[in-house]
Symmetry: C2
Subunit: 270 residues, 2 copies
């Protein structure tokens, strides 16, 4: 007899409601990054508190996550407060604490979405098929092994003297092992891109996201259609200046549907 | 004898500290928009609470504002809480309430910035000189008269049968009367663009920003150099779908320095 096991992502974002608006979770080494866990997984965990909250209305439209301090291994608490619920929209405040200290703060906006006039302005850039690209093997951080990344351009290759400096990165990516896409998984993969300064300078510098904002274009139907296939991701930058640089990124389903617009601002040391 | 009068912007964002972390302000008709005041001014007012807070550390790097309900004419209260203060960074939670209801929520990230390697990837698009462009005269909303807007392209012209539908807008803009740029004024002007669906369809539909995020590339030196000159602003969109569309915008000083990357997601009815 085999026991069905949770996907690593579902394990990582798992929460237990302990009191009204209160959830407890646990951070282990599965998605560990440089300092604390992969930020995308922390973002997905915070969103999950609103997703599973009994008062939830509609689906996520926007999410902003502020990385205030490194989440440590062990238990954490999330306070998820619906600040305001309107007829078809809902505003959330989400605070992740360890030892009563705020490690991550977030706000989220949910809405019930109806069919409207639609148009996609940002078309996916041309990219070779996934099967034509090698999987990027990196073992420096635990979280890398949980994503299958196939770079078209802009990979961080500090050990390759011929690496091309680039503001932009373009890659195919999916959970490893594959897992059907949902709002939590899309939230996590939206943080897949290394700080832009890594691909631009092709050398390491202490760096990390301080604030990230996702806009979910994807409706439930878009997510179902995307399934567990690869997503195409592209990230660019506007300016690096005095310790901070922005990032603007998009994620498309393999059929070209834009699922996510994501921006973030990252610290860099020098 | 003449009494020096405050600029309308300084009047609008003026706050009085009433208790630790508590400020009171007042909304009048000066910057009134369709429903409540111009969102950029509400954003500037929220940021101002952190800017004038006695515990403030450093300068704004990011700001996210969630428009939960319409701010009404009259008094409001802002609760400004430094959620976490590190050695050189600070995370804020900002809540604007009227009658104990949250009308606007925001988070902000401040940092002390030092000189680093810098590079600007997003160069300003070509644009005619301000003097070659007519000022856009609009009188439908009170707040319009407090900005001098000179459109290069993408203006909303629902009464012009020959108006060109466009995802993008490009314009020169400054406070009217001119006022030296600071973080509050830059925050407000970052919301200058009409919902993208207006320029795309050139007809009115109920629409409004639900969440906006600013990344401040500008340091104090950048702001001083920008002075009270016009800024060049460009806004685009990625996808309109099921009641919501995003916007990605940039604001440059007249010398080409990128001051702000701003994104927002806006509701539209149909």
């Amino acid at each position: 007899m085999t026991t069905p096991t949770l996907h690593a992502l579902d394990q990582a974002i798992r929460l237990t409601m302990t009191a009204p608006n209160r959830f407890s979770g646990h951070c282990d080494e599965t998605y560990l990054n440089m300092v604390g866990p992969f930020g995308g997984m922390t973002a997905a965990t915070l969103l999950n508190a609103a997703l599973m909250h009994p008062d939830r209305l509609g689906d996520p439209v926007s999410l902003t996550v502020n990385f205030a301090g490194p989440v440590g291994l062990g238990d954490f608490e999330i306070e998820a407060t619906p600040l305001r619920t309107n007829r078809s929209t809902q505003h959330w405040l989400l605070l992740l604490r360890q030892n009563d200290e705020v490690m991550t703060s977030a706000t989220a906006f949910f809405g019930t979405r109806r069919e409207t006039w639609s148009e996609q302005a940002a078309e996916p850039p041309a990219a070779p098929a996934v099967s034509e690209l090698p999987r990027k093997e990196r073992h420096e951080r635990a979280w890398f092994r949980h994503y299958d990344m196939r770079f078209v351009s802009g990979a961080f290759q500090p050990d390759d003297a011929n690496a091309t400096p680039s503001h932009d990165s373009l890659l195919w990516v999916r959970d490893e092992p594959p897992r059907p896409l949902d709002f939590a998984a899309l939230t996590a993969v939206g943080d897949i891109f290394a700080p832009r300064i890594f691909s631009r300078r092709q050398r390491f510098t202490p760096a990390g996201t301080v604030s990230m904002t996702h806009y979910f274009h994807a409706t439930q139907e878009d997510l179902q259609r995307a399934g567990s296939d690869f997503l195409l991701g592209q990230a660019g930058v506007s300016r690096y200046h005095h310790n901070y640089a922005d990032q603007i990124a998009h994620l498309w389903a393999s059929d070209g549907t834009l699922l996510l617009t994501s921006t973030q601002v990252a610290y860099f040391k020098e």
